[in-house]
């Protein structure tokens, strides 16, 4: 190395002083250590000035103890920045609504902590680490399937219960994870139902599939294709659009050349709305079909009229559902905006979490709340919400939802600028 000057003692002394300072702080912070396993020392030795709210229950791998007067923390991993935030923010708000309505469990207040997971693998892992460092009891999320797949390992290390309301990818529960459940519908269910509906009910025999090259979109279209061709229909071509792009003219032109009976899209609102609009502008008259990724008023709004007549699959839903309307009304009253496409699933997921906490938490002799992590996960598996906002909720061994008797895969059609259920 070059350029050494004569002031050799300065760095030494500075370093030594800082080392001393740092050692002091480090000792003081020592009990923040979260892998201590059952280290239950009170937080009295925290550095002066730390707010009481910041004191943590000392979480081990097995049980969580929440001291009397503290809050039960529940995490929400969703996307708060990037263009995907238009899906992520309503998810957060749906989950927070459940917390707000619940208020307390055994006289302990509940606090929801939302972290930005960027709808990506690395982002979701970071959010998971953040939430774990906050000692959350359980987590609603991650938002995107890729994020959930990547982050589940991190959560599993602490045996934390995770319930996602929006990760629909097949691979999320294949193979199943012990600590994971979801209120979102597995694409395997939905894709096959969509295919059946398109091929049999609508009798559209020739389809073009478009995916947005995401885990969700590509996965869904793969399932669709298998079921669709299996039912005797043909896929004319498979196309892809790039997320973030706004001009899909070449793809539209190509679709027009294929002259399909139906265009099926796997992806989210932003691309779906643009695609359907540009299809109609190019006077492609084939039917348009999408799934829960676009089942939202924003899709219709952003498509600017072109969405009229489009079919939207929304997963198995009971024939009559007042629960959703109730939820939607409460959501709008709370936030002044309409609920988003996964809001009700996130709301249900959070309600399952809260119900599981209620079922498994015990209050010890000192008035602290004790939650056994494994008991919490087991309790969550057993939770049944017959009137969930997204339909009756019950889980199978894989952590996927059981399709309740008497429900069919809900298909909506856009009529007069609104989604109307037709199946």
């Amino acid at each position: 190395m070059h350029g050494r000057n004569g002031r050799r003692w300065l760095p030494l002394s500075v370093a030594a002083a800082l080392l001393a300072l740092f050692a002091m702080v480090a000792v003081a912070c020592g009990d923040d250590d979260d892998d201590g396993g059952g280290d239950q020392t009170p937080a009295a030795t925290k550095p002066a000035g730390q707010t009481p709210a910041a004191t943590q229950p000392s979480g081990g791998g097995d049980t969580i103890t929440i001291k009397k007067g503290d809050k039960i923390k529940v995490g929400i991993s969703t996307t708060l920045t990037t263009d995907n935030a238009q899906l992520g923010i309503p998810i957060r708000d749906g989950a927070l609504l459940a917390i707000k309505q619940k208020g307390t469990i055994k006289d302990f207040e509940i606090e929801g902590i939302a972290e930005d997971d960027l709808c990506s693998g690395p982002g979701s892992v970071t959010a998971a680490q953040k939430l774990l460092s906050e000692d959350v009891v359980a987590v609603q999320g991650a938002m995107c399937s890729s994020g959930t797949v990547a982050a589940l390992d991190t959560y599993a290390q602490e045996n934390v219960l995770v319930i996602s309301g929006s990760s629909t990818g097949v691979q999320v529960t294949d193979p199943p994870k012990a600590n994971f459940l979801r209120t979102a519908w597995n694409d395997a269910t939905q894709g096959a139902e969509m295919a059946k509906y398109a091929c049999t009910t609508l009798a559209k025999k020739n389809a073009v599939l478009v995916n947005d090259q995401s885990v969700y979109g590509k996965g869904l279209m793969d399932v669709f294709k298998e079921a669709y061709t299996g039912a005797g229909c043909t896929v004319a071509s498979e196309e892809a659009v790039t997320v973030g792009e706004k001009d899909f003219s070449p793809v539209v032109t190509k679709i027009k050349g294929e002259n399909p009976d139906i265009v099926v899209f796997g992806g989210f609102i932003a691309e779906g709305a643009v695609l359907v609009r540009q299809l109609r502008d190019a006077s492609v008259t084939a039917d348009f079909m999408g799934a829960d990724g676009i089942a939202d008023a924003k899709f219709i709004e952003q498509a600017g009229g072109a969405a009229e007549g489009a079919y939207v699959s929304r997963g198995p839903t009971p024939a009559e559902s007042t629960a959703y309307d109730k939820f939607a009304g409460e959501y709008e009253a709370e936030y002044g905006e309409k609920a988003g496409q996964f809001s009700e699933h996130a709301y249900d997921a959070m309600n399952v979490i809260l119900a599981a906490i209620e079922a498994s938490a015990t209050v010890d002799a000192d008035g602290n709340l004790v939650i056994d992590r494994q008991a919490l996960i087991d309790a969550a598996h057993d939770v049944k919400l017959p009137d969930g906002a997204s339909g009756p909720i019950e889980f199978n061994a894989d952590g996927d939802r059981v399709i309740a008797a008497g429900t069919v895969n809900r298909i909506d059609q856009v009529k007069d600028g609104a989604l109307e259920r037709i199946q």
Binding site: L80, T81, T82, D83, N84, A85, Q86, G88, I89, Q213, E239, A240, V241, T242, G244, E245, K246, D247, S249, P250, V251, V252, T253, K254, K256, G257, I269, A270, A273, V274, R277, Q278, D281, A282, S283, K298, E301, Q302, G304, G305
Partner: protein, 303 residues
Amino acid sequence: MEQWIQLFIDGTTIGGVYAVIALGYTMVYGVLRMINFAHGELFMMGAFAGFYTLDAYQQHSGLNDSLPVFTIASAIVAGMITAVVLAVVMERIAYRPLRHAPRLAPLISAIGVSIFLRNVMLRVTNAEAQVYPRVFPRGAIEWGDVSVSYIRIFLLVLSVFFLVLLWLFIERTKMGMSIRAVAEDRDTAALMGVNVDRTIVMTFVVGAALAGAAGAVYGMFVTTATAGMGFIPGIKAFTAAVLGGIGSVPGAMAGGYFLGITESLSTKFIGAQYKDVVAFVLLVLVLIFRPWGIFGKREDKRA
């Protein structure tokens, strides 16, 4: 055959957008030897300005229906002004202090500006796509299976118009001459009495005006504005600028159209998911055989 023609027209449209954005890249590069990574965000801000203007007309007057020519024009002007103001502030705060800094410092500064603008708009819009009111009459000129919507024609014509306008500006005006002089050799230009600072600002202004206008028109074309919409056109336009020979104005134009058309045709050729691969492979191939770009000046350093 008709499909090929349609794809060609599709490609020309987006290519025109690339070309107009690419001009900003190439001009700034010409005078400052700097890649202005925030240029795509100016395009995005132009789209938002256009949206807010049209939306205001929609909310508060019937002008969108009765006088669409006026509202469309004012949306474009709003896009230009917004982008220009931002570009001037940006140049002053983030780039001018770095004019003599190590070569890559302004690059990072530009990336900072880009992240800043994108996230500010995310906050402002709550990450929701803003939907343009439909001001353009729907409909298209049809020729067999080829259909060219009015807005597409407008976009095509406007991009050519801007390109010609810029060409005239660069070639025929005194300011254009200064820009060329500064691009050629800044110190000599300064000695010849060119006000270098003002010329550089002017370059940003012109580039930003084009990007802002392109943003507003593109917004009308795709009828949405989102905070992230500047990124992909930005990268593509940058690619187009390099493809044409960065620093060369006709090169940027040609590069833009070339890239747009190739992308579009490759959708049919190879598949839509490979269109970006094709774009970049093409770039690599062109630069391997013509390292100075299609229209770039061959710089024989070994003289």
